[in-house]
Symmetry: C2
């Protein structure tokens, strides 16, 4: 089964307070939630545009993955997540095809989704996330 | 009016031939078109996932914008495009809010869309494109 849509796009920013007004006042989107995700060491602001969420990510720790990303590459798009069904089989297929996995098994992510990341070294520079909503 | 969806995500790759099999065989998407866009000095491979297109961009010129992007930042997501209505008014509003515009007026892009880019210095590192389909 092919992915059904882009579930979200994660964007690393230095400051949510600075970046939210661009998405609200310039683009006309509405921030509907701000949430801290402790194990990822980020504070996240969510916007919805059609089928896709925009997730702005501000690091809460200078040693966290988003802080390190910004140190190395600057602010910008951090990852892209595809909504799939059969995430376990998708991961197995990726591994068979020689793709390096960050998560060899799905784990629980935000909003109760099953998620797993593929390594950008195997995905042409794009940190790629697979998400499955088992409640659907 | 808020944007209706993510129209496309542009991804800079060194080689379409190398990258297409990842999107087809691993993710399960289907490349439905390959097109050369001469004025952007790229060859583009298109995939559709829900409302959004994935556009892989391979430079046809070592001095082109995509080649320069890869030299500086490596392969990865190059830009993100929002589908909007009233693109002219959106650009005027962006300018009023102090956003630096790459295109101060809409121009014709791929597939006959009216498009304009906002400068990543003003958009927290994300090269942001606005697109309007005037035929709709």
């Amino acid at each position: 089964m092919e992915p059904t849509h882009i579930e979200h796009i994660g964007i690393a920013v230095k400051s949510l307070d600075d970046a939210i007004p661009f998405y609200e006042d310039v683009l006309g989107l509405k921030c509907y939630s701000i949430e801290e995700v402790k194990d990822q060491k980020v504070k996240t602001a969510f916007f919805k545009v059609g089928q896709t969420k925009i997730e702005l990510l501000e690091s809460t720790d200078p040693e966290g993955p988003v802080a390190k990303f910004i140190d190395k590459r600057g602010q910008g798009i951090h990852h892209m997540a595809f909504s799939v069904s059969g995430i376990k089989e998708k991961l197995e297929r990726a591994e068979e095809k020689g793709v390096r996995l960050i998560d060899s098994k799905p784990r629980k992510g935000a909003e109760g989704l099953d998620i797993a990341f593929l390594h950008p070294k195997s995905t042409f520079g794009v940190l790629t996330e697979l998400c499955e909503d088992k409640t659907k």
